[in-house]
């Protein structure tokens, strides 16, 4: 028998999650007034699996009439049972929704991955548990609002119109719905047109929870449907997460009305590595910052600033780490980077890859075999990037990192803040004082120190400048749904 057993190519065998467990209907209507309702236009549109581009289901295309019916149901519920209910009773329903989500966590995770293309590891370990936690957290506040805001008299706003993006479909629905319910508002929510399925599954468990009819209404559709919600005269509060472009349109359209609004928009976050940082852990933070959810993250650390003395070390370690990322079938439990959410988004990313190369930046992509069908993009890093280059200035919303170096701290602060965005940032240093000094100088709603992309229901999240305004999560998130 040989001493050395040569098994150098020890490749992981496929470990796919069982898609069959998830029950997806052939067709979904709107969820209005506690009932599944066919669209008034009779039109439906397809939702596909971005990893295969095969059809998963079809969902109702919402018209102004559908939105009107949903807002009307929400108003009736607000004037009726929900508005009169005590906080304690409201809390019971929200707790019930949280528990039902936990019980069906596996099914939610699979559908999230099928519909959105994100790896099952992320939907299983992050999206779904975090969404349930948002319901748990806010449920706890429902009967304690007078303690949350001592010496303030608070009241709910009325009907909240909510429009959410495709990158975290279920999690964003939870961020929006849970605080609205805890504070006694009713909801009309529109999920993104490419990823409506988990919001519709959420409607199923909301129905199962016995929540009074009309408290939560879910209307599916594209941009026009969202505009109909935002512009509806009987909506008291608009909550939007999505692109800065659409955010500006919403600002314009609600100007002159008394609608309250919170907008969580785009970002181009700086992730700053100082020479005294723990480099290997910082490299993990870089990877987590930009390749998490294929870079479809508004707070992604898409601009990397490395102090010049450790630039070479950071780059060889980062490239080596990127070689170990597994790109492929999102349902495989070993997949690290899944499919790009849609053909349109893939085109956008490819446009930026081309722009980066044309601008003279050096592009690196690890060797990996991408599946032949579906929407895929290798994790990408650009070095030798100019601050004025488009890949360093514009939000790409894909797995593309632009690296720059710096010599001094004032220099990196100036570069990091030299962007219209201000959602998030990261700083890596072994010195606590430096972390505080730099994070105080950064114009960003969230600054992570020696970590990245950490989320908690108790922690407020939101932007500066063109990344929007208002906070979600924590007490700040409740305040956004209350009148003082």
């Amino acid at each position: 028998m040989a001493t050395k057993q040569k098994t150098l190519e020890w490749e992981y065998a496929p470990a796919p999650e069982a898609a069959k467990i998830a029950k997806v209907a052939k067709r979904y209507g709107h969820f209005i007034n506690g009932k599944w309702t066919a669209p008034s236009s009779g039109d439906y549109f397809r939702t596909t699996n971005p990893a295969t581009n095969k059809k998963l289901s079809e969902v109702a295309d919402g018209s102004a009439a559908d939105v009107n019916a949903a807002v009307k149901a929400a108003r009736v519920a607000y004037e009726g049972p929900w508005g009169k209910m005590s906080g304690r009773e409201r809390g019971k329903y929200i707790f019930r929704i949280a528990r039902l989500m936990q019980e069906r966590a596996r099914e939610f995770a699979i559908i999230e991955t099928l519909d959105g293309g994100k790896p099952i590891r992320e939907s299983r370990d992050i999206d779904v548990p975090l969404a349930a936690n948002h319901f748990f957290y806010n449920a706890g506040w429902a009967d304690k609002l007078e303690y949350a805001f001592p010496n303030r008299k608070v009241s709910s706003l009325g009907v909240a119109g909510q429009v959410i993006p495709w990158n975290f479909p279920l999690l964003m629905a939870a961020w929006k719905i849970a605080p609205a319910l805890a504070t006694g508002n009713t909801v009309v929510l529109k999920p993104a047109e490419t990823t409506p399925l988990t919001a519709l599954k959420l409607a199923e468990i909301i129905a199962d929870s016995g929540l009074p009819d009309g408290v939560v209404n879910i209307v599916t559709g594209a941009g026009e449907t969202g505009a109909a919600i935002v512009n509806h005269p009987d909506v008291n509060k608009v909550a939007f997460t999505g692109s800065t472009g659409v955010g500006k349109l919403i600002q314009k359209s609600i100007a002159g009305t008394d609608k309250r609004a919170t907008l969580e928009l785009g970002g181009k976050a700086a992730n700053i590595i100082l020479e005294d940082a723990a480099i290997d852990q910082a490299v993990e933070g870089i990877v987590n910052g930009i390749y998490f959810n294929q870079g479809h993250v508004c707070c992604a650390g898409s601009r990397l600033f490395v102090q010049e003395t450790v630039f070479e070390e950071v780059m060889w370690k980062l490239k080596r780490r990127m070689e170990t990322l597994i790109v492929g079938d999102p349902l495989d439990k070993n997949t690290d980077v899944g499919a790009i959410n849609s053909k349109e988004q893939l085109k956008t990313i490819q446009k930026y890859l081309k722009a980066g190369v044309e601008d003279g930046a050096e592009m690196f992509q690890p060797k990996c075999d991408l599946p032949s069908t579906g929407n895929w993009c290798s994790p990408t890093v650009f070095t030798n990037v100019a601050q004025s280059s488009r890949i360093a200035q514009e939000e790409i919303f894909g797995p593309v990192l632009a690296v720059q170096t710096f010599r001094t701290v004032p220099e990196v602060i100036e570069k990091a803040n030299n962007t219209p965005y201000g959602l998030s940032a990261g700083v890596w240093s072994d010195k606590g004082a430096r972390l505080f000094q730099i994070s105080n100088a950064l114009e960003a709603g969230v600054v992570w120190g020696n970590t990245y992309n950490q989320f908690d229901p108790a922690s407020p999240f939101g932007g500066y400048k063109e990344s929007g305004f208002g906070r979600e999560g924590g007490l700040h998130g409740l305040a956004a749904y209350l009148d003082f």
Binding site: M1, A2, T3, K4, Q5, K6, T7, L8, E9, W10, E11, Y12, A13, P14, A15, R121, D125, D276, A277, A278, I279, D280, Q281, A282, E284, G285, W316, T324, K333, N334, D430, N450, T451
Partner: protein, 308 residues
């Protein structure tokens, strides 16, 4: 703090050891445990782990006969399943090395490792440690597992630790030297990294986590810190250093997660028993039970597997 040096010219500048972020290490370590190892990959992994084991007996109650049985088991893990590998080595106290050499003969693929240098506490004068090392090698040991002087390390006498390792390495001659850091006594991951760097620069062929004689033994985060030190050294010098987690690894699933970590940090070149070992006594039987389950489709009771 200055001590007499035998290798002063190549001492390691311990200030160069990078800081370790404990939270980041624990997070990264957790990611390895979410890899799903199935079917062919699992079987290949189990065989690989079996072939990486240093089958160990380090008890006060050890007898020549127990050592002979251990040697037999190392070569015949479970003969009712054909085609199984041998373990990498047996690991015994120095006074049993000659027994093991007779039992295994000179042509066995199973190496003989011995714990010299006043295992497990390391409290002995240097001359004694060197003599113990030379005798173990003279009796036929292929590998020496030494312990570092943790007290000296913790009091900041890094040069002493460096010189002691270098001296033992010299005493080893052709035998390969594994340096046990006893990470459970080093308190911080920064210390684990520094001790790893010192051992590597002083000439260790392997660095090893633990003696297995204190409660806190090998963990994935500690092993990760040591593997990163090995990888950094390899990148700078091209010299490969082996890694041996020891103590506390008793299930197949955990052992496979270690392989995942090796593959994804230092790389697949380390996935042989020349560069990676498990110090374990009860792990082998758990692996055999898993192999039998894969071969026959059913778990068998523990009493079907020999306990040595």
């Amino acid at each position: 703090m200055k001590t007499k040096s035998t290798a002063a010219s190549c001492r390691y500048d311990y200030a160069k050891s990078p800081p370790i972020d404990q939270v980041g290490i624990v997070e990264r370590a957790a990611r390895f445990t979410t890899r799903s190892i199935k079917s062919d990959c699992k079987r290949a992994g189990l065989d690989m782990v079996l072939n990486m084991i240093d089958l160990t007996t380090l008890e006060g109650a050890d007898t020549p006969n127990k050592v002979r049985q251990l040697c037999y088991k190392a070569e015949h893990l479970h003969d009712s399943i054909p085609g199984l590998p041998t373990t990498a080595a047996v690991c015994v106290f120095p006074n049993f090395v000659s027994v093991a050499r007779v039992a295994l003969g000179d042509s066995s693929s199973v190496k003989i490792a011995s714990v010299a240098t006043s295992f497990p506490n390391g409290h002995a004068i240097l001359e004694q440690k060197l003599e113990e090392t030379r005798r173990a090698v003279g009796d036929g040991a292929d590998e020496i597992d030494m312990v570092i002087s943790r007290g000296r390390f913790l009091s900041g006498e890094y040069d002493y630790v460096f010189d002691e390792i270098a001296a033992v390495k010299e005493a080893c001659g052709k035998a390969r030297l594994k340096v046990i850091l006893e990470t459970g006594e080093l308190a911080t991951l920064d210390n684990v990294r520094r001790a790893s760097d010192i051992a590597i620069h002083a000439g260790a062929d392997f660095i090893k986590t633990s003696t297995g004689k204190i409660a806190s033994a090998a963990t994935i985060p500690v092993t990760l810190v040591m593997l990163l030190a090995i990888r950094d050294h390899f990148f700078k010098t091209g010299r490969m250093v082996g890694m041996k987690p020891a103590g506390g690894i008793s299930t197949s699933k955990l052992a496979l997660h270690y392989l995942v970590m090796v593959k994804e940090t230092v790389g697949p070149e380390w996935l042989t028993n020349e560069w990676f070992r498990f110090g374990a006594s009860s792990l082998a039987n758990d692996l055999l039970m898993q192999v039998a389950k894969l071969e026959r489709g059913l778990y068998q009771a523990p009493q079907y597997f020999s306990k040595d």
